[in-house]
Amino acid sequence: MHTHTIRLELVDQPGELLRALEPIAENGGNLLSIFHERGNITPRGHIPVEVDVSAPPSRFDEIIAGLRDAGINVVQVGGERYSESITVILSGHLVDTGLSDTLQRIRDESNSSITELSLAAPEGTRDISSARLRLGTATGEVENTMRVIREIAAEKDLNLIEPLELGGDG
């Protein structure tokens, strides 16, 4: 399974979003997320929508063809994005060192997206706590993403536990 990001521009009328999603499901795509920018109308008066879809490589072209056949305006088809998953564990003064800043920087400095966060703070969040982060990252970006996480962890004096096997289906 590969993950792709598809940018669509929808006509601003009821039912249009649902109509855009049907060809994805009908062609074996698994809808991961929809980013619906209602407030951000394009110059042509359309509503930009970004969908992340995972699909077997062989079916992806059919999804795009299906969207176009349905008259949906496909403006951009991202190559596969975030198709590999990395899970790391960070321990230390996560809250004092700014957890949201940590997460933001991982996102900003690497081509990845954080898909899951679990926190364990047995002594309360002011003390040493641990977080398990699951990230989706692009193919070929796993090493780079790990490098970014290592740098941020070292800078904030957080103990990083890396998986032995990197990557895998996201």
Binding site: I89, S91, S118, P122, A131, N159, P163, L164
Partner: protein
Amino acid sequence: MRLAIVGMGAIGASTARLADSFGHTVTAVADEDSAATDEAGIDVGSVLERKEVEGILGEQSVDAAIGAEYDCLVEVSAAALGDAEPAFSHVATALGRDRNVVLGAKEPVAQRYGALKELEAESDGQLRYEATIDGLLPVLSTIGDVGADRITGVRGVFNGFANFILSRMTTEELGYEHVLAEAQDLGVADVDPTFDVEGTDSALTCSILANELWWPDREFTTEDVAIDGITEVEGSAIELAKEDGMTVRLIGEVQSDKLRVAPRTIPTGSSLAISGSRTVVELDVRHAGRLSVSSSATSSEEIAAAMLTDVNRLGD
């Protein structure tokens, strides 16, 4: 065979006691500052007792033991991490006298591999150090059998004590300090466990394996190993790993582009996820997948048996 055993810690003493049952005679024993020699064979029980009572093995010096009559030097004395001394010089002297050498100390092999191999090449004596890698595990023999050029990498849990700590933290849901203190109370831990828990011992193993695979094209020492121990592993981190079907182990990795020791998450069901004070070594063999050897040989008697097995391999 006549043996000189240098280093009378728990492993050296066990080796001396077991030598007879392996068909060998101990003609010299030495520790840091005393030694006893007897061409006809030492009464192991009484010299060990003398060490217990008087603090010395005998009236002689270590050099006298190394220069004594024997066929094989069994070297298990504590060695400095950097230059592997004094163990390295003991080995050099014995090989220079065309005697065989069996090493239990890792440092000479890990830190001065090339020099050791050259000494062996110039000597009529043979050098064996299988026991430096996880006791009885026939890892080095396996590498020899398969052919080092067919092995693309090695990884494993190389330190039984660190594994004991991590597995106990996992099953008992206790913190690192608590489990360590408990292990020291039980006498499972060395008085100074830093060597194990900070990853140094595993790094020595990484260096030995890397040299075994890639010397003489490249030579390695622990300076080439990125080392991270288990002292900072939080109980909460292990909990989070568990929730995700994973566990944390101190893993040594030997790949041509990186040598590394670090706590890593691995799937609970994987062959590296062994529990207790056990070790496991996995070889990546080209065209043949992964070969895994696991052992629980971490007591001093088991390591002594591993060295005596090495003695018996001499001449093969």
